[in-house]
């Protein structure tokens, strides 16, 4: 297999991670550590598949995967923003819920194929012009529409966070909600909107797995990818373009890991599977030691803001 076709697969393997990582970045930027990503992906994957299976309509399936993710995120938002519950504990509960929900409703679809209309719709499409660029074209522009949607999300998220007033306010809230509110920003509204969109992205990540990446519905669709996404947010130091590189790197590791199993190398396969997490720990330590503020986690990450508490 050529390098270009390997990287083409790595992009595909990293796409679900990329969606979920973008979602988690958005949530963390506004100060909410959501450990429910895995659950949100599961909900998106199962709802997307069921809608796709029943209607055979690809766009409807994707839409419902995204909606399901944001409904799940609404639960999280309600409990952590309005009812001020601990974010870590709420996120973990959401993951337990999402995994249970997906297993419960997905059990009767295990082993079913994605309908042919949907498979055809999400077949790799070569973008005229860009797809003909040697190497880069084959890696990035001979992919499914769903993958192109993820590129669009990266661009939009990067622009939103860096170039718009809304994005600036969002980051402001993550760094200091007290000052943000004093400055006239509606903290609660911003948090809700960001977290709902974040859930949407996680749902899209789950939908990609069940509708495009897998051709048959498996027992556990997401299988821990949501947790890798949480790691990836740190690995990419809260930046959307870096998340893209990181997602494809982790995607490549995933492919290498499964392929190595057949080669009987002296190094353990599991060393490869553990590598993303070890790398994340290293990044976590390095960013903490680094004095530069823009590389750090948002200052209020994981801490609920409540005006009356001051």
């Amino acid at each position: 297999m050529g390098i270009a076709s390997f990287l083409n697969l790595a992009v595909k393997a990293g796409t679900s991670l990329l969606f979920a990582t973008l979602g988690e970045i958005l949530s963390e930027k506004v100060g909410h550590l959501n450990l429910g990503v895995e659950g949100l992906m599961q909900i998106g994957a199962v709802i997307g598949f069921i809608v796709g299976f029943q209607t055979g309509h690809p766009l409807l399936a994707v839409l419902f995967a995204a909606l399901a993710g944001s409904v799940g995120a609404l639960i999280y938002a309600l409990v952590t923003i309005t009812f001020k519950a601990n974010q870590v504990v709420t996120g973990l509960s959401l993951t337990i819920f999402g995994v249970g929900f997906a297993n419960f409703f997905g059990s009767r679809y295990v082993g079913r194929n994605v309908p042919q209309e949907i498979v055809n719709f999400f077949k790799p499409v070569t973008i005229p012009g860009l797809g003909q660029i040697p190497f880069i074209g084959e890696v990035f522009f001979q992919q499914s529409f769903y993958v192109y949607l993820s590129y669009l999300c990266v661009i939009l998220l990067a622009l939103y966070l860096r170039k718009t007033r809304w994005g600036l306010n969002t980051r402001f809230i993550g760094e200091n909600p007290v000052a943000a509110e004093a400055g006239g920003i509606n903290v609660t509204l911003y948090k809700y909107v960001n977290i709902l969109v974040s859930g949407c992205l996680c749902g899209l990540g789950g939908g990609f797995l069940s509708l495009v990446y897998m051709s048959v519905y498996p027992i556990d669709v997401v299988a821990g990818q949501g947790w890798i996404a949480v790691a990836l947010v740190i690995f990419s130091i809260w930046s959307a373009p870096k998340a893209m590189a990181g997602a494809y790197f982790f995607g490549a590791l995933r492919i290498v890991g499964t392929r190595l199993q057949h080669l009987h190398l002296p190094i353990s396969v599991f060393a490869f599977t553990a590598l993303p997490y070890i790398a994340t720990i290293v990044v976590l330590i390095l960013t903490a030691m680094n004095k530069r503020k823009e590389n750090k986690a948002p200052a209020w990450l994981g801490i609920n803001y409540f005006r009356e508490d001051r």
Binding site: L33, L35, I75, L78, V79, T82, F83, K84, A85, N86, V88, V89, T90, L92, S93, L94, T95, I96, F97, V99, G100, F101, A102, N103, F104, F105, S107, W227, V230, A231, I234, S268, V269, F270, A271, T273, A274, Y277, I278, T280, I281, L284, I285, A288, M289, A297, L301, G302, E308, D309
Partner: protein
């Protein structure tokens, strides 16, 4: 348009009655919500709830199975209580549990011939040490560079999982298991004794409730942990060695979680595997939190959760209702209780005057 203005204010101490009332309402609402979801899926909610209870109290055997589910959950939550009390978010109990299992298994493999009264305590000590060792790096970097311990301990879980998979599939794979990726079962002398079908684990769990209670409420260390958890600055002004207290707490918390690795491998599981935790390390965090970080309450909450876990596995085998139904119900109850705590911490006040809204 005219709206009445509502506001919220902090409550002082809450009465027991209010606490019980709010929590019970949350559970009732959660069960109603779960019933709707079950009805949508064309399952009979009453049947599911009765089935869950039958699976726990229907026979002595099922009751002992319930206690078997309770033991790891309770001990893990005790370990977590210690760390959370210091405001140290140890969500790495899964990993510490697994590494404790590695420690216990290592001793069994190195010294299989020792008599049980020597072997079992030695396994417990090493499991404690391995669990502690797994929490020391996050604690060290937290106290030195303020790394985020939530994320650090989370990552350590996966490193532990893949390390155990490496042992299970490669290094310690049992050649006698005809190709099955499994570590050999422990010999008889490395298994916890049973009394009438009940493992010794339940005794250890009850003992630990007392130990952690005394540690947190009656010792200097417990006091230091609580002060540091409330305010790091206060702890510094009081002249405490913050760095040392963080490390000490990590050793206790990680060690207790590691001990579960020994109890499970030498108890119900009979050997080590990557699936041994079953996500309990995460559930235990929620238990600790709902118990308000109090050891005795953790026992009560763990018991209630163990009912859902044991009941879930029972309805799966007995009625072919997916066991995930129980996991879903569990999570719905959790989310409602988490939300309801707001009403214990704050009260809603009507500010008398009406405000004009254009």
């Amino acid at each position: 348009m005219k709206f009445k203005q509502y506001g919220v204010a902090k409550r002082g101490e809450t009465s027991v009655q209010l606490r019980v009332l709010v929590t019970l309402s949350a559970i009732v609402l959660a069960l109603l919500t779960a019933s709707i979801i079950l009805l949508v899926a064309k399952s009979n909610p009453i049947g599911v709830y009765v089935g869950i209870l039958q699976g726990c109290f229907g026979s002595l055997y099922r009751f002992s199975a319930l206690l078997e589910k309770l033991v790891p959950l309770l001990i893990l939550s005790l370990g977590i209580v210690v760390a959370f009390k210091m405001n140290f978010m140890n969500i790495g109990a899964e990993g510490q549990f697994l590494m404790g299992g590695v420690g216990a298994t290592l001793i069994v493999r190195l010294l299989p011939g020792l008599p049980a009264p020597v072997l079992l305590p030695l396994m417990a000590v090493v499991a404690f040490a391995f669990g502690a060792l797994w929490l020391i790096p996050p604690a060290f970097f937290k106290s030195k560079f303020e790394t985020n311990e939530t994320l650090f301990t989370l990552m350590m879980n996966y490193v532990a999982t893949y390390f155990v998979m490496h042992l299970q599939y490669e290094r310690w794979k049992d050649p006698a298991a005809s190709g099955m990726p499994k570590i050999a079962n422990f010999p008889e002398n490395a298994l916890l004794p049973q009394v009438q079908g009940f493992h010794l684990g339940i005794g250890i769990a009850i003992l630990l409730v007392g130990v952690v209670y005394i540690l947190m409420n009656r010792t200097k260390t417990g006091y230091e942990i609580a002060v540091l958890g409330a305010s790091e600055n206060t702890a510094r002004y009081a002249g405490m060695n913050v760095h040392q207290t963080i490390l000490k707490t990590a050793i206790i918390s990680g060690g207790i979680c590691g001990l579960v690795g020994m109890i499970q491998t030498a108890g119900p599981s009979g050997t080590l595997s990557a699936e041994i935790t079953g996500g309990l390390g995460f559930t235990a965090i929620i238990v600790a939190w709902l118990a308000d970080l109090k050891p005795v309450r953790a026992a009560v909450v763990s018991f209630l959760f163990a009912i859902l876990i044991q009941g879930g596995s029972y309805i799966q085998t007995a009625f072919q209702i997916p066991g995930s139904a129980a996991a879903m119900i569990q999570a719905i109850i959790l989310l409602y209780i988490l939300g309801s705590e707001f009403f214990l911490r704050y009260r809603i006040i009507k500010s008398g005057k009406r405000v004009e809204v254009a």
